[in-house]
Subunit: 339 residues, 2 copies
Amino acid sequence: MRVGGLSEEQLLARILPRLPAGTDTLLGPGDDAAVVRAPDGRFVVSTDVLVEGRHFVRAWSSGADVGWRAAMQNLADVAAMGARPTSLTVSLVLPDDVEVDWVLGVADGLAQACGPHGVGVVGGDLSGGPAIVAAVTVHGDLAGRAPVRRSGARPGDVVVHSGLLGHSAAGLALLRAHGPTAAGPPVPDADFVRAFRRPDPPLTDGPAAADAGATAMMDVSDGLLKDLGRIARASGVSVDLSSRDLGPAVDELDVVAQACEASALGWVLTGGEDHGLVATFPPGAAYPAGFRRIGVIGPAPDRSGEQAEGTVPDGGTRVTLDGEPPAVGGSGWDHFGSS
Amino acid sequence: MRVGGLSEEQLLARILPRLPAGTDTLLGPGDDAAVVRAPDGRFVVSTDVLVEGRHFVRAWSSGADVGWRAAMQNLADVAAMGARPTSLTVSLVLPDDVEVDWVLGVADGLAQACGPHGVGVVGGDLSGGPAIVAAVTVHGDLAGRAPVRRSGARPGDVVVHSGLLGHSAAGLALLRAHGPTAAGPPVPDADFVRAFRRPDPPLTDGPAAADAGATAMMDVSDGLLKDLGRIARASGVSVDLSSRDLGPAVDELDVVAQACEASALGWVLTGGEDHGLVATFPPGAAYPAGFRRIGVIGPAPDRSGEQAEGTVPDGGTRVTLDGEPPAVGGSGWDHFGSS
């Protein structure tokens, strides 16, 4: 059955029972608005939109994979502020020919990502349209913590990371190499493909890092170089990554990278969508066990090499590897540009 | 200039300065998440998605009109719970050929709708895609009030409405009659067209109704019959509208309806998108001055005429006019169905 054969209320009646209530939900879907607890007296909020053909391909990701990713990349944004996610809303735009089962899969993926964390899916909207779009907004509670921003890194701080680096890029490369169809050869290295389809960032490390005194934090959605470039610019500093510190992450990808004729270091530095957490701590601070050191914060670079205001900031002059500009093509990808 | 020529960061740099900060915003856009005050210790949240060709047509609405509507229909959802809106997020999907000025217009329309109410635009996301989509999520504060749900109406309650009824439908009919192009004849009855392009619901009447003891409330987005049918089903009651009470609303539309060969009563009963507030109050309650009586709540109807579970509920057997099923075609429109 395809969604074009159902009304909005009929489709909602099938979706709603699959969604998790959440531990902070006071009034769930079904009225003009939901009501969610904000015990802190503040809430954090972030939003992301996924478009078919840009952020996912139906042949490579099930509905449940898309629902999982849509939730998880938003949950990671909340964790990156040092907050615990509490709730999210989802709007779906669906062409008439989408299978109802695919949409129910999205609901299941949302539930699988949110349920274990006590996050409720508290509202949503459905519309027809020419392409699948999923727009997710997520909320979280800081429990009295100051939000950890991008702008607090200081020279001498250590740069640490928790989660995977480059695994999602490796999984995508494997899918590309092995073709999109289920009829193709079995995809090897299922862990990498799973990392691409179902990123599972260390959400509780966000509040833990905040409690431990992180000076800056963000989730790595567009690649380490690009996202560290954002921290560097917001903080008015530079970042020097250590190839020795990144060695274990590179080693994990080496066999797959050779099979794909790709660069494992390139995946580690520019592969996005793993949504691990990168944070900075004052020198000597005891950062939580999930984080591994990957570099150090330096002073603001000589601005003479920077691009003019308003051009795409690539972080190239702000982020170095062993003191030199990284010799990898690109520096992360632009969700929006034509590239 | 078209958006395809800009990166996401370049376009954001043009949009962000146009957005209102809001009186409850502690940390605005630019980090992984925003931080908003929730003085009540709870927040209300609702989300809506608008798709070009379904919810708006570029020829009939400017970018600013679309931004205004996207904000206002969400702000109305918050008001309908008895809350004061505080903040919203906006995700935009934009084909490459959309003019940058059109997108900046959306930002201006959001600002014009939100700014006077102290509502901040605190986050967003941009993506390319095959059609324009705007997904808005809105938040509000209940200031200690119980949320006013759809389920609290009781037999004997009076049904009241604040705002416009059928004006947006009249405006749309006028645009259809006079053609979409700027080169066409000047559009008459500018107030109706403005009601279509820029609905301006009585947002402060929502909290006022909650304070005055409203037993149920919602905003009229899909037409009076359809939305009152929702209150009737959620509350387990019926609604009888009074043609005498609706007379002034019908009279306002009479001349335009005749010119368009349409039914003024039909517009009042089934025209959606005015986003006025319909509420119920115990008999004898002093409801706020902005509301006008339009009917009364009765007991649950004989269920024998109801449609089977899972079919589109049209409210027809739940909502009557002067005791009879209303003799108007349809009962509101479905954003999602193929109709």
